[in-house]
Structure formats: structure tokens, C-alpha cells
Amino acid sequence: MSAVFESLTRFYQSSIGKKTLVALTGAMLVLFVLGHMIGNLLIFVGPHAINEYGHFLQTVGHGMGVWVARIGLLAAVVIHIVATIQLTKANRAAREQRYGCEATQVASRSSRFMIWSGLTLLAFIVYHLLHFTAHAGNNYGSYMTDLDGHQVHDVYKMVIAGFSWAPAAIFYVIAMLMLCSHLSHGVSSLFQTLGLATNKTWPIFKFVGHAYAALILVGNCSIPIAIWVFGYGH
């Protein structure tokens, strides 16, 4: 038991071990982001579709499903953030004296900005959960509607109300730009860290990473922009 624990500790303490965990938790979050976006786009199908979807998420597995997902995502987010902060601190410490003349040959801007795009996303996640999940500072929790004879939470009305307020819509768009930047390096990068890239497949991974980041940006931004700029749902 203790020998296994010792090996696990050594794995976590190693640079590659930590990076592997960052890649695996990143992969979970990458898939979550896509699922979350597809679900949210139901708002364009109409109030019934998104309210039914919201009700399904709340009740799946007798209400346990949502908690399993929440705990899993929370664990992934915590591991992803703790490991990357430790890695970043080690990276800063590895070069105490900076170059007088700094040059960058191939590193993308997104790749050099990962810790900052990531920390902005952390701030966004906290705000997002307070805004639409905990309903802090708003009365969205009291919005109810009739769904096939059941009284359910009115997700449609909540989203329309949430994005009708300009500062929220703007912050969401900024956060999605950060997410796009983060994904444009992170998605292809996880294939490298997990040892799955080859010379043949690397250009595909790189393209897929950029396309994925763009897809998430367009899909997620379409909602606040449609509501705030074009008055969708009013």
C-alpha cells in the first residue's frame, strides 16, 4: 500500500506526471465545454427545448446525475489549476536571470498566455456559477414555468434576463475569447503531453485544436450576442 502510494507521489511530483494530469483533466474539461455549448444552443430552438433540457439535467439519475457531474468537474478543475500553478512557479524559478534581449521564434501568443487566460477563466467560472447556478444577487431562482404539466425552472427566461444586462454579456464574450485562446494551445498540446502525436498526425491535431477553439468561441458567443445585441427573446 505505502509502496504504491510512494510511486504515485513520485509520479505527481515529476514534471511529466503533473503534465499528464493536466492533459487528462484538460481533456475532460474540453469535452465538457462542447457538451455544455450544445446544450445551451437549445435556447435557439425555443423555451420548451431548453427548459426540458434543464429539467432533464436536474432530474437525471433521480437528481444524482448532476451531482456526479459537478463533483467530477470540480475535481478536474482543482487538479488542473493546482498542477498548472505549481508547474508555472517551477518554470519561473528555472530562469532567475532573464535575457536582456528576449526573442521568440515559434511559440504562439496563446501558448505564452496560458496561465493568464486560465486564471481569467477561473474568475469567469466563479462568476458564472454565482450568476446562473447559485443565483447570487438576482432572483432567477424564482423563475418558474409550466413544462408538460410540471412546474420547472424557467431556464429560457433566466438566460434572456442574464444577457440583457450589458456588463454580463460583455464579460461572457471576453471570457470566451480567453477560452478560445486557451483551447487553441491546450487541445493540440494534450495530444503531445499524452504521447499520442506523430509527425503524420501532428498537423491534424493542430488544425483540430484551432478549429475546436473557434467552434466553441462562435457557438458560445452567439448566445449573449443574439440576446444583448440583436434582442433575441425580447
Partner: protein, 264 residues
């Protein structure tokens, strides 16, 4: 032959004391001189003026030993692709240019003097697993182990690493992953390297971490700076080999067969 008038900003440092940039004028440098020959000319003038010459590493001056270092205008070995400092020529610069000359900067490469750094960390990483154990005695028959041409070629690509440290110097995080991956990959690719594969992978990575190098963030500055064009796919392989070795280490695979707590 044209003569170049250059302005140098050279890092001067004595051991662990704080360093600084010194402005040195380098007039009338022949454009067919190599970068190191330019440094020689500058040093001869400094000595003639009773000043302290600039300390820098050099050895073969034909691009194969890995001794010369220097970060030139922010790029290890200068702006030319796949070129060591000794093979960089002054015709690549223009008269009037300001050239920044700095050591390979990393906490794990402490400055000895001026542009010379101690790259002993690489030696200690090699000692941690960069070898194969063989019986000594009479030379074995060369063809007794069949090795496919593609495998031999791949191992040779990794073996092209001269251990100069440009990967560390160029990396935004001063990571040694390209060096370590080339050395691990070369031996892990060949049949002779298989018996110690797991121990080597874990041991060299552990030593790399212990030396205080940074962590790879997949930005590939190392590959761009490498004078031997070592591919970052060796890092992919090291990541893969390390994950496999770590899982085997966690579950203890390979130990029971050996009948006890053998190996690492």
C-alpha cells in the same frame, strides 16, 4: 571581403556575483570571420588594452562538439537555423548592427564567468540512465542483433544531439526536455536499450527534475533553436515512455517476475 563595424552588448559576470552588460565597440570585423573568430578578435583587442577578455566556451569549432554556447540576440547559437555559434558567420550581420551576447540562461546552468556556464547538470542526467549495460570482453559480432533500417535511422537522429544546452536556453521555462528526450529516446529505440528501458526513463526524468530545470509547455522553441534539429517528437515519445514506466512502477510490474524488490 567587407569589414563590419559592430556594437556589442556582452554579459560580464564573475561566478555567482551579479552580472551586467558591457558595451564593447567591435570595428573592422571581417565578414568571413566566424562568430567565435569575431570574439577572438575582440578579446585580442581587450587584452592589448589591458582589459579583461570575455570568457566563452569553445572546442572543435566545426559544429559537432557542443561546447560553444552564447545566446545571440536572444537566440541560442544565433539566428541561423541548425547552426552552432562556431559555424555562424559574420556575413549574416550588417555593419552598424547591435548584437546582444549573453550566456545560456537557466538556474541549472550557473554562470562560471561571462558567457561560460556549467552544464554539469546534463552529465548528471546522463549518469542517471544514459547508458546500456553490456558484458565487457571481446567485441560482439556486429550483426548479431538485427536492427531495422528505420529504427537505426531514428536512433541516429536522436543521437545527433550534441548536448550543447540550446534547448534549455531557448525554452521559455528553461526545460531540458528536448535533451533528455533525445538521450532517452536514442537508447529506448534500440534493442540494446530495452533491458533498462523503464529504469532509464524514470531515472533520467527524476534527475532532470532534481536539477531544477523547468517544465515543457509544448511551445517548441527548443526545436527551432537546436543546432542539430532534434525533433520535438522525441518529447512525445518521452512523455509516452514515462507514462508507461510510471504505471509499471506504480503496480510493480517486472518485480514479481524478478522474484523480489529488484530494479528501481
Amino acid at each position: 571581403m567587407a569589414l563590419l563595424n559592430l556594437h556589442l552588448k556582452v554579459w560580464r559576470q564573475n561566478g555567482s556575483q551579479p552580472g551586467h552588460f558591457q558595451d564593447i565597440e567591435a570595428p573592422e570585423i571581417p565578414d568571413h570571420a566566424s562568430f567565435l573568430e569575431m570574439m577572438d578578435i575582440v578579446n585580442e583587442r581587450l587584452i592589448a588594452n589591458g582589459q579583461d577578455p570575455i570568457a566563452f566556451d569553445h572546442d572543435c569549432r566545426e559544429g559537432i562538439c557542443g561546447a560553444c554556447s552564447m545566446t545571440i540576440n536572444g537566440m541560442p547559437h544565433g539566428p541561423e537555423r541548425a547552426t552552432t555559434t562556431c559555424q555562424l558567420h559574420m556575413r549574416k550581420f550588417r555593419t552598424g548592427d547591435t548584437i546582444w551576447i549573453e550566456p545560456f540562461r537557466a538556474r541549472s546552468f550557473p554562470v562560471v564567468k561571462d558567457l561560460m556556464v556549467d552544464r554539469g547538470a546534463f552529465d548528471r542526467i546522463m549518469q542517471a540512465g544514459g547508458f546500456v549495460s553490456i558484458r565487457t570482453g571481446s567485441a560482439p559480432e556486429g550483426n548479431s542483433i538485427p536492427i531495422g533500417k528505420d529504427v537505426a535511422d531514428a536512433a541516429m537522429d536522436a543521437a545527433a544531439c550534441i548536448g550543447c544546452g540550446a534547448c534549455v536556453a531557448s525554452c521559455k521555462n528553461a526545460s531540458a526536455m528536448l535533451f533528455v528526450s533525445a538521450k532517452v529516446g536514442q537508447l529506448n529505440t534500440l534493442p540494446q536499450g530495452q533491458p533498462e528501458r523503464q529504469r532509464r526513463t524514470l531515472g533520467m526524468v527524476r534527475q532532470m527534475d532534481a536539477e531544477g530545470f523547468g517544465n515543457c509547455t509544448n511551445q517548441y522553441e527548443c526545436e527551432a533553436a537546436c543546432p542539430k534539429e532534434i525533433s520535438v517528437r522525441w518529447i512525445t515519445k518521452l512523455n509516452r515512455d514515462y507514462a508507461v514506466a510510471a504505471v509499471k512502477d506504480i503496480v510493480g510490474a517486472g518485480r514479481q517476475q524478478a522474484g523480489g524488490e529488484g530494479g528501481d
